[in-house]
Amino acid sequence: MTELNQLTLAEARDALRSRTTSARELTQAHLDAMAKARVLNAYLLETPERALAMADVSDSKIAAGDARPLEGLPLGIKDLFCTHGVTTTAGSKILEGFEPHYESAVSANLWRDGAVMLGKLNLDEFAMGSSNETSAYGDVVSPWRRAGSDARIVPGGSSGGSAAAVAAHLCLGATATDTGGSIRQPAAFTGTVGIKPTYGRISRWGTVAFASSLDQAGPIARTVRDCAILLGSMAGPDARDTTCVDLPVPNFEAAISRGVKDLTIGIPKEYRVDGMPPEIQKLWDQGAEWLKAAGASIREISLPHTRYALPAYYIVAPAEASSNLARYDGVRYGLRVPGKDIAGMYENTRAAGFGREVKRRIMIGTYVLSAGYYDAYYVRAQKIRTLIKRDFEAAYAEGVDAILTPATPSSAFGIGEKASADPVEMYLNDVFTVTVNMAGLPGIAVPAGLDAQGLPLGLQLIGRPFDEETLFATAQVIEDAAGRTALPKPWWA
């Protein structure tokens, strides 16, 4: 029999329902795999006692015939989601030892549906990063390696722990968040599937805030179906988040078998950026061919403001971050470093508690919001955001159902390879994903092949607002055509 942690989430669900295995056995198999994989540094905190207690509850529910939608399925939780009584750090020293007295809406929805918590997953500090190298608790190492090399590779970020844990079979699926690409880029780097749903589909309540008008949670899992199952549980109205919409949650899992017949897929010409590796172009063309063969029509479209999305993002996101992170003041949470007066205490606490990238973004945000610069930077960026959104609206108004692009401009890079003095080099990783956050749209990354070095590459599909179903249907066609990526052999175990 296959080792239990090799099952997909849907297969594990079926095995539990048919009593082929128990939630306790399934959970223990994951805890054992996690214990062997600590060199990856994917988990910041393992919660084995809680996991087994939750699994036992699931086993009794299953025995009583009361199984809930995710009954007994072990998941990892990005350490940006507050978990009641379980340390939540956001990957930052400033929140070291923070034990929330409340549960995030996303994780509460998962526990309501019977899921089991394995532990808290590593991430870039406050979700600011594209390689998981900004975590105060160490880099996450990807389970992937270049062919013939044992150099350590980044899993992407900021949901690097989530993506690495899913790829290394250390959980059946994981929660993640995406402000500029933080679900889709690590999914693409690790050969996993990740969806950022439409802004407002999932409550942000209890999730540590980075940039509130861009942040959205979503799942990372090994198949399109598994992502659809998880999103169905994570989503839903919540009165505590005024930006969370009062829309019913569709049956996402049912949507995956719809196919793409009669759909129109747009190919945006502005995504053909200078210096794009030929392998990425080839994969993109291949993706369009697969969809065409399955009955979709392919149409070239124009999204003229694409190139301005990333620079506008680097005004909007830091501005919102500088405001959101003002709450870490040495008074209400975690770290406090004394100073000569109260302002000195704030300054010393924040200097010691925040890492370099977080400080840099808070300072950029403070600058663009400061007197005399607000209109030139912030208001202009918000106007450009309107233009970016209009580009998508025009494409959809002309009958485009979904848009196909590469997920990232390259495959994963090595740890430390982009540590240059110019932060913009790292930011360019998100050039294909950030437009989607700026326009509030849903986007999914699905594995489509390997590059010449043997590292995964992903394609991205962008949908109409609140039409995640079409994304699941289309991504399933790509998954079926590409074949599920064979995940790396466990060199770490």
């Binding site: 007295h101 802004y199 300054e347 010393n348 925040f354 400080k359 610069y373 106007k383 309107t386």
Partner: protein, 95 residues
Amino acid sequence: MSVDAATVRRIAHLARIAVSEEEVAPLQGELNAILAFVEQLDAVDVAGVEPMTSVTPMAMKKREDVVTDGGRAFDVVANAPETEDNYFLVPKVVE
């Protein structure tokens, strides 16, 4: 636009982040790299364009103006570095 060392110190103070003398020059370089990157936005014609205030076309949700939560002073201060009788303690601010 680019920032000089004095501006870096001023921003750091506004952001309430202590910055040592050795940190000023590297920060200045990094902030200027980001500001140079965003400079390309000046090329966009934004005349007559409304700045985005809500990414989804929805009216702000409203609810009855009633108390829905509260009476949890201990939960609120539980993670604070210093408290007394469910109050946050801060260094003396009034002489």
